[in-house]
Symmetry: C2
Subunit: 158 residues, 2 copies
Amino acid sequence: MNQPRLATKDDMPRVLELINELAVFEKEPDAVEVTLEMLESDGFGEHPKFTCFVVEVDNKVEGMALVYMRYSTWKGEALHLEDLIVSQSQRGKNIGTMLLDEVVKYGKSLGVKRISWEVLDWNEPAIKFYENKGAKVMRDWDVVQLNEKEIDNYLKEI
Amino acid sequence: MNQPRLATKDDMPRVLELINELAVFEKEPDAVEVTLEMLESDGFGEHPKFTCFVVEVDNKVEGMALVYMRYSTWKGEALHLEDLIVSQSQRGKNIGTMLLDEVVKYGKSLGVKRISWEVLDWNEPAIKFYENKGAKVMRDWDVVQLNEKEIDNYLKEI
């Protein structure tokens, strides 16, 4: 197993496979509208919209963490971990921890005052893992979303 | 009352007052580490880190909404509403709704497939308001954060 490294454009086909693998596991295979072309142009253009780390096992990418900057009105620039995925067949080998460590190191190198992510509130093993790492799980904050269709519906009503 | 408009650098002193007003109301006045200089340079440089809308009442900014782009591994670029603040003295005049409407229109104009924000799970009036607008309140997702000190502690342990 290799240490985490920055992803290159050439890793994006495999990264998209991991994204799809997780969506299938979560029984939402149709929810993935991201395409290889989007990942390649959004992540590797002049102004990248995200940064991606990957871990290889036997020369194959088996885990990835995707991050980008947010902006807190209290703390200024903050790093957000959008997704951390380890291939089903490679679980239990510490790859997730290696990737989270890498993300925290990256945040430190950027000098951010906050690193954030989201967790399912029934995922007690994950919550316990994060709390052991010293993170605050803010159970009283919920995520609100409008999807594409809901955006259109919203606009029709105003 | 004026319609929402894009904030300029000159609005930032008043925007920072609103940020502080809310932090005092939430009994966390010391949590605000953002400075006027940060807001001015981060929001109005060559690559702005956020976009801000404001509403004026009698030529004074009394409400603001601060947004930026995120990146969904399912949907690609997504718009996030970080903060929507209306001055205490100006509540109940529909300013919050005007700002949320403006944010959704802005998201539509950008062609994003998702607009997101966060809400306190005990804030039932807000949740009801968002749900009436067609938004999904994802009660099973929690926010996780590492602050500056927790980042250092995390790194000490690895």
